[in-house]
């Protein structure tokens, strides 16, 4: 198509003659390149064993380097480098570089899994509590108990430490968490003449009242099972446990089924909205329109609620409602939702140094304050220090000193037996897919029962042994 006489055409002729003398070299280069690529391909093919099937925790431990080392920390925390710089200034022997990755399952894990499968994972990575067993399953994490992490155990929240401990090992350093409480709009509650509810039964009554002024007291996410899971945990459920060489599961205990039945009723009565999820664009639109009167969510939800337009001074925080059995309260005061760890990855050449940095970052006052100021992390994993800025009243939350008033207590009233399992993401998706079917005669109780069966099946498909716990099957 191109006209050879076109003056605008690139001077191809000249270029060709100019390249002619080097043609042989180039050709040789090409063939060399081809051979190299073919070799690479061969090694690729030979390396085609399914990734993540060898373990670093059976190999000898790596001693401290004894010379300056550089570490990489992949995380989705904002401005994490500024936190690392505080440490780097004190410790020239261990220099940490922060590398940003997308948050968890929205791309970060995919990247970490791929890097780990290729043998190039960083020294440290941000891994949520619930994802630790998933990373363990592909042998991506270092067992820190082999590097003496147990000496730091008493610095951390007990329930959180339990969530990083599996089969005599510790696989991550708790970094932040999210004890839940009830955020509410005092003005909307006053319009129906109510105080924040102390129990879930009171909550249901209030939710019905709030509907009369065109607002919802909360939403129920059918597309994200983590909320339901947290409610069941609060009620006292422990879905998974390790028993010797196999997993045991019980997702249909009394606590879970009662929770499911409670929200079945709440959805059937139209007390909660299932049309959108917490902190999604439609939620913000509704909240700005005074159509959201409350939300039971984690401490880190404060920053998200602060972005409700026109919400300043209108919100307050109360303890999470309690579950009741007859007239007696059961279960626990609160539940964690979300929260992450700094996990040492299997390909790290300096696991001991990486652990030292992670412990400093999560337990020292300087570390915690820097993490809050720069990265806006969730709740401090150390019960003894919540961070300087969190000890003051908040203007947005109606001048309430809500962190000290509410969340300090919430963080300690946790279900200490809860453990995550290697198929958390998949299990939550299975649950959510079952929840989505809610409607008509299909209930959340049915959904939980169905999901349990599918999750057991998924365990077996992964080649893991699992048994149903309890006798009610």
């Amino acid at each position: 198509m191109a006209d050879p006489t076109d003056p605008a055409a690139p001077p191809g002729g000249a270029a060709r003659t100019a390249q002619a003398p080097s043609a042989l070299t180039r050709r040789r280069l090409l063939s060399l390149g081809a051979a190299g690529l073919a070799g690479g391909a061969a090694s690729l093919l030979s390396g085609c064993a399914t990734p993540g099937t060898t373990s670093v925790n059976t190999q000898p431990t790596i001693p401290a380097a004894g010379e300056p080392v550089r570490l990489q920390y992949w995380a989705w925390l904002k401005d994490l480098q500024k936190v690392c710089d505080v440490w780097n200034a004190q410790r020239p022997d261990i220099q940490v570089e922060a590398v940003w990755i997308p948050g968890g399952n929205s791309g970060g894990y995919q990247k970490l899994f791929a890097a780990s499968a290729a043998g190039g994972s960083p020294d440290l990575a941000q891994v949520e509590f619930r994802s630790i067993p998933e990373f363990m399953l592909v042998n991506a994490l270092v067992d820190l108990s082999r590097y003496g992490v147990d000496q730091y155990a008493d610095r951390y929240n007990k329930a959180l430490w339990q969530q990083v401990s599996y089969v005599d090992g510790v696989y991550g350093i708790p970094q932040d968490s999210g004890p839940m409480a009830l955020y509410y709009r005092p003005d909307l509650l006053q319009r129906v003449g109510a105080e924040p509810p102390a129990t879930w039964d009171e909550w249901a009554e209030l939710a019905a009242e709030v509907r009369k002024i065109g607002a919802y007291l909360d939403v129920f996410a059918v597309s994200d099972a983590s909320g339901f899971c947290a409610y069941a945990t609060q009620a006292g459920a422990t879905w998974f446990a390790v028993d010797g060489d196999h997993w045991t599961v019980n997702m249909t205990d009394e606590a879970t089924l009662n929770t499911a039945a409670f929200f079945d009723k709440a959805i059937d009565r139209g007390l909660v909205s299932t049309a959108f999820t917490l902190f999604s664009p439609p939620w913000y639109a509704a909240a700005a329109n005074n159509q959201i009167a409350g939300a039971v969510t984690a401490s880190w939800g404060d920053a998200l609620i602060e972005s409700v337009s026109g919400g300043a001074g209108k919100w307050k925080v109360a303890p999470m409602p309690l579950w009741q059995n007859g007239s007696q309260t059961t279960g626990y005061g609160s539940s964690f939702i979300g929260g992450s760890t700094a996990a040492v990855m299997a390909d790290s050449k300096h696991p001991k140094e990486a652990m030292e940095f992670a412990v400093w970052m999560t337990t020292s006052r300087a570390g915690i304050d820097a993490m809050i100021a720069n990265s806006g992390i969730g709740w401090s994993p150390t019960d003894s220090y919540i961070g300087a800025t969190r000890q003051q009243p908040s203007e947005f939350f109606s001048g309430q000193n809500y962190n000290e008033d509410v969340f300090v207590k919430m963080a300690t009233e946790q279900n200490p037996d809860w453990q995550w399992w290697p198929l958390t993401t998949q299990s939550f998706n299975i649950l959510a897919d079952a929840f989505r079917r809610k409607g008509g005669s299909y209930t959340l109780v049915d959904a939980v029962r169905d999901a349990e069966g599918q999750i057991i099946e998924a365990f077996r498909n992964k080649g893991l042994s699992i048994e149903r716990r309890g006798s009610s099957s």
Binding site: L30, S223, H246, Y284, A285, N429, E457, K462
Partner: protein
Amino acid sequence: MTSSVPRAEPPTVADAIEVGAAKAKRGANKQVRRAPWLLLAPFMVLFLLTFVLPILAAIGSSFTKVTRKGVFGELGVETTFAGFSNYTQAFADGTLAKSLGRMLLFGVVQVPVMIVLCTVLALMLESASARWPGFFRAVYFMPYGVPGVIATILWSFLYVPGLSPLVGLFDKLGVQIDFLGEGTVLWSIANIVTWTYTGYNMMIIVAQLKSIPGDIYEAARVDGASTWRIARTIQLPLIRPALVLTTVFSIIGTLQLFAEAQLLQSFAPSITNTYTPNLAAYTTAFAYNDYNVAAAQSVIIALIAFVLSFVFLTLTSRRQR
């Protein structure tokens, strides 16, 4: 090469030269034979490494299985040949079949709508009475220049209640409309896809329309054919290849739907992690770390795309005869 052989050499040497020339010729033949391979090499190497090898690796991976002992595989991990168990597992929970069915429904509706729309646009732009065809061609093509991700985010703000002026307008008129509900979100995605690709397909058809020789039109007009008649009996039959091509591309594109569904997930709770076949494979591989089953799912998607395209091509070419 042979022309360079000097003709004025003495006869005694001529034999030797002849032999030399024949050798040179053979050598030249060899070079000629080798040339296309050398020229193809850069492409072939990359094609093999980034296309053929990954496909072979995926097929291989779809037939292997990892078995673990203990709670995390700490007592040993085995990789074994799995036969078709990954394929049966891919279909076992019914989500992949459901997502394939969903895409079939999507394709049956969206592809014809888009093809009709782009054909009509192309015919109108190429009709004699069209005003500023160049300008409108550019305008219709413009959405294709917007990346799928951006297009989805743009559209999502027209879908979300409370933000969308459309939903607000319908609300004022007393019509409750939910673009992101379980029954509607598929068509909201179809709308985004149609918006993006109609202009692109229109361009392909316009190109084919432009290649129709002018004398055919002239002859038709001499015979007194109307614009409608010209479109029906000249233009439509002659742009058939372009229509077939755009339809096949659209069928394959439908099966590969991914970004729109994945992005709308954060706005629409009804979109599951297995909403489209590609989303299901992505979730299995990178959220569940089950590369083997994901490989099986990918192979199934590729096979179905191949079968559908093949059936469509066979049907259209048979009718042509």
